[in-house]
Amino acid sequence: MSMSSSDIGITGVGVVSPAGWGFPAMLHCLNENKPIEKIVHKDKVSGRNFLRREVPAPNKTNSLFRNPRLRRTSPVSRYLAAAAFEALGEQRLEQIASNNLRIGIVVSSYTGCVNFSQRFYQEVLDDPLTASPIIFPETVFNAPSSHLSALIGSSEINYTLVGDESQFLSALEVGVNWILDDELDAVLVAAGEENNWLSSDALSIFKKTPVLGEGACALLLERCDNPMAKINLITDRLNYTSTTPRAKTLSAMRAQLPEGIISDVLFEGINEGSLWEDFAGKRLNVRDIMGEGFGVSVGWSCAAAAGLIGSGQFHSAIVSGSGMDQSCASLLIGS
């Protein structure tokens, strides 16, 4: 179902990316249009090399990471936690702590906690009797979102949605509807992915010499008169099927956007062919700068779009959320 609204806006943004910890670091890199340096990483378990753009170590010890819930987690949970705290800010965290903000969480994920999943399964192959009970719970898709609820102190509804890049836009739609339906005051919509040779191996079947990216993004949605950016339209999420070619599905997605719409900036998706060849505004592609972030790539694009609109650089943006192999949707946001 498509969603159109002028009531709900993005009021907070948090990002962890190969550009660094924090939204400004990513925005700076995008403005500079300079790709982050890629490195060859050797995986300890498989001994394989793969190309990646990695999240730098935090500059200083972040007290957030001393929380017991994050002690044994995979990287993606830490990325998500940092992004969520940045998006919420102190004021909202205090409101949640004092039960003055009903906030739900929707996390979208593509590859999940792949590092721990790989590690645990290898232990099972080696000998199931000695497989670690500490690692297994962290392999479950909703482990990161569960940690988020615990860390921010919210007992409200929490969904983990699994799907390709386009999933993030569906997650946004779920969040918007929860607020429109008056179920909640605010929703944190987040995505996170982590680098792993297995993801690189899988991607290399379909793409030559892939360069992975990793990190997280979190968007805070609320009813607000003066948000960073307003969510104007999320199109239907359409599936690529064996009977409907990708190009036709993408065209159908674009056809849902209002005819003659003028947007200042386009965040491009994956393998879109000539879909946007007539687009006259500025084009940005976060993947070129950050690497292939799977589910988080569209999240980064949405965050960047909100930031650029919020700072007055642009009035409106389209995020084309064409997923790798499942479905596509797009987002129209504006001032």
Partner: protein
């Protein structure tokens, strides 16, 4: 633009399909649950010789899949979990009388799963780590993605759908039904398909075994000496639509979905709050939405895993929530009979509630000689017929503290 804020449509289930270790189909399962049949057996799907636990609820898949539109090539790609999804879907769609060819709008399909097609992911990993061939790796990695199974369901039956895959561990199936319910109730959609599924796989079995969460004897929820759960597999799919639409077309209505609530237990990643505060919250709020009191709930299908921590926390929450009505409240856990279906549990247990309402019986759990003292409620352990079951409730609680409750009511216009 649909404005859901002012809309509160009544939502009914007008199609249902199920496959569990008890068999394929509504009547086979209905007979099995009514009699309290036990379908756990020694695991034969994969090697468990180095595991502490040895039993699970395994599905005997039919030799062929129902007639569908998939090409031969795509049919060959269907894995175990995908097959169960297709089977349950086929029965539900047939029962609903829906003609997807005449539906021009996108139909939301909300599916809950925890492991999806982990079996293919495991295969992919083993081949990748060997590094000697990449043959069929593209099919494995594509098939591993849960969205692909949902897509197979759509393509098999010609559904123009918008897919949502909720992976909230063991409450996924209940969340998926609840999410679809909300979409219709609030006017975002007129109809939806919802359900849950999961297939047994080595990694998840070993995971629960590593946590000492699996029973090494026999799963016996709510027994004082319970020692863990048994895993299972299966699927249940439902067709949901607005009550007025269903009545207008003269559809068979299984039940009305009266209420849904979801909450997050922040106590621990794998352990519930000892008092079951979130469990209490979801039971309470789902009943408030359904406009029923605990005394109105004629049967409660508990999450009842059979682990020491779950059953005591849930038991306390049930007693707290039911209050003075607790002694009359009939409760059972069907997980001792078929195992814990993880992402499929909430959906299959919803189906059990509907079967019970339709047949006017209570599904017994496995008989326990010495129930946990927390069981102030009427723990149903043997087959029982009743005059009517106007309201039922099912609980689903998952890893990460994901809790959900659904209330079903006999439909009255």
């Amino acid at each position: 633009m649909l404005d859901g804020r002012r809309q509160r449509n009544r939502v009914v289930i007008s199609g249902a399909g199920i496959i569990t270790p008890l068999g394929y189909g509504w009547s086979k399962n209905s007979n099995g649950f009514r009699a309290g049949r036990n379908a756990l057996s020694l695991v034969t799907l994969f090697d468990v010789s180095r595991q502490k636990a040895k039993v699970a609820g395994q599905v005997n898949l039919p030799e062929s899949l129902p007639e569908n539109r998939l090409t031969l090539r795509n049919k060959k790609r269907i894995d175990r979990a995908g097959a169960m999804l297709l089977l349950a879907g086929s029965e539900a769609f047939h029962a609903s009388g829906w003609d997807f060819a005449k539906m021009d709008k996108l139909i939301p399909i909300c599916l809950g799963t925890s492991a999806g097609s982990m079996e293919l992911g495991e295969d992919y990993y083993r081949v990748a780590i060997e590094g000697t061939t990449r043959r069929q790796q593209a099919e494995r990695i594509s098939g591993y993605q849960t969205h692909r199974q949902g897509m197979q369901l759509c393509e098999a039956f010609g559904i123009n759908a918008s897919l949502t895959i909720i992976s909230n561990a063991c409450s996924s199936g209940a969340n998926a039904i609840g999410h679809a319910f909300r979409l219709i109730q609030r006017g975002h959609a007129r109809r939806a398909v919802a359900g849950g599924y999961d297939a047994l796989c080595k990694m998840v079995f070993a995971g629960f075994d590593s946590l000492n969460a699996l029973s090494t004897t026999s799963p016996r929820p709510f027994a004082a000496d319970r020692d863990g759960l048994g895993l299972g597999e299966g699927a249940a799919i439902f067709c949901l639509e607005r009550m007025d639409d269903a009545l207008k077309r003269g559809a068979h209505i299984y039940a009305e979905i009266g209420g849904y609530a979801a909450a997050t237990d922040r106590h621990h990643l794998t352990q519930p709050h000892p008092e079951g505060v979130s469990a209490y919250s979801t039971m309470n709020h789902s009943c408030i939405e359904a406009c029923v009191n605990p005394a109105d709930v004629a049967y409660l299908n508990s999450h009842g895993t059979g682990t020491p921590l779950n059953d005591s926390a849930e038991g306390r929450a049930i007693c707290h929530w039911a209050g003075n009505a607790v002694q009359e409240l009939r409760v059972s856990s069907t997980k001792g009979n078929i195992g814990h279906l993880l992402g499929g549990a909430g959906a299959v247990e919803s189906a059990i509630c509907l079967m019970a309402m339709e047949g006017r019986w209570i599904p017994p759990g496995v008989s326990v000689a010495n129930p946990d003292p927390v069981c102030d409620f009427d723990l149903v352990q043997s087959p029982r017929e009743v005059s009517s079951l106007p309201v039922t409730l099912t609980n689903s609680f998952g890893f990460g503290g994901s809790n959900a409750s659904l209330v079903f009511k006999l439909a009255t216009s």
